[in-house]
């Protein structure tokens, strides 16, 4: 090897997640209990939200991070759901889970606040800087979604970007409306 060259040797590789087999939402049977939220730092909320206090409402969790283009392009759809269904019983909660260590700026509350303002996000967001909620729900991709019914049961999960009025948007819309009417 010449002096001008650098050899790089791989010692070990880890991919967070495996190749996606399904992108669309999949029903999860009659539902399983949704793990409680224990995050302590929140935006667009005057106190930490807990699922136990949201019984009787449908809850859509959106696992995202503001550095993910697939996530930010999905936000207009979530803002639309929030506008249409909040008064009918839907609570959307953003679970903001950084990808990189703190040096990348994703952990910073001010950066997240600016991202929420830039995207017009009015629904609550939890800072999941230690990935406690990400891990509790077994999430592997940005963005991911968990739809919880009025009893606190997980009914649908899925991942992947979608856009206003595309097929996935309509699927999630139908599922939200279904749970709202139960």
């Amino acid at each position: 090897m010449r002096n001008s060259s650098i050899g790089v040797l791989l010692l070990a590789g880890v991919v967070a997640g495996t190749t996606a087999a399904l992108r669309s939402a999949v029903p999860s049977g009659g539902g399983t209990p949704a793990p409680e939220l224990t995050n302590t730092s929140w935006l667009n909320a005057d106190r930490p939200l807990r699922l136990s206090e949201l019984r009787g409402r449908v809850v859509l969790l959106n696992f995202w991070v503001f550095t993910c283009g697939n996530c930010t392009r999905t936000v207009p759809s979530l803002v639309a759901y929030d506008r249409w269904y909040r008064e009918r019983g839907l609570t959307i909660i953003g679970i903001h889970t950084p990808e990189f260590p703190p040096y990348a700026g994703e952990h910073d509350k001010g950066n997240l606040a600016r991202a929420l303002a830039r995207q017009g996000i009015a629904y609550p967001n939890a800072q999941d800087n230690d990935r406690r909620t990400w891990d509790a729900y077994g999430i592997r991709y940005w963005p991911s979604f968990v739809l919880i019914d009025k009893r606190g049961m997980i009914r649908y999960t899925g991942y992947g970007e979608f856009h206003l009025d595309d097929a996935d948007f309509r699927t999630w819309d139908q599922r939200i409306r279904q749970l709202l009417t139960e």
């Binding site: 650098i6 590789g13 550095t67 993910c68 697939n70 990189f100 991709y141 979608f162």
Partner: protein
Amino acid sequence: MTKFVLLVLATLAVAACHGPPPLVALEAGPPLRLVAAPGVRINARLKPALELDDGTVLRFDSPRVTSDSAYFAAAPTVAAPLSGRRLGTLRLSVCPSGQRICRLVEMAVAW
């Protein structure tokens, strides 16, 4: 050989078992260069990082990004220290276009 290329891919163990093709290759130059596989985009809003064993963090970058600034349009590079044997962790966010998601790739490297 003016450019030594070795590489290193997101799915080391999987690739060794004839699994899916690697998502990205790290070319040793200098400078170090990240090359994405076809259909794989590297997140430009979260610049790939090489975390050295002494705590230094090197960030890959490229002046060419997509129009929405979400992905690199040309392979990002970074100048690597040339002296001594080094260990580090390469960390990047990849967004395969067909899957409409981003995921984190981490790998240990040495040179």
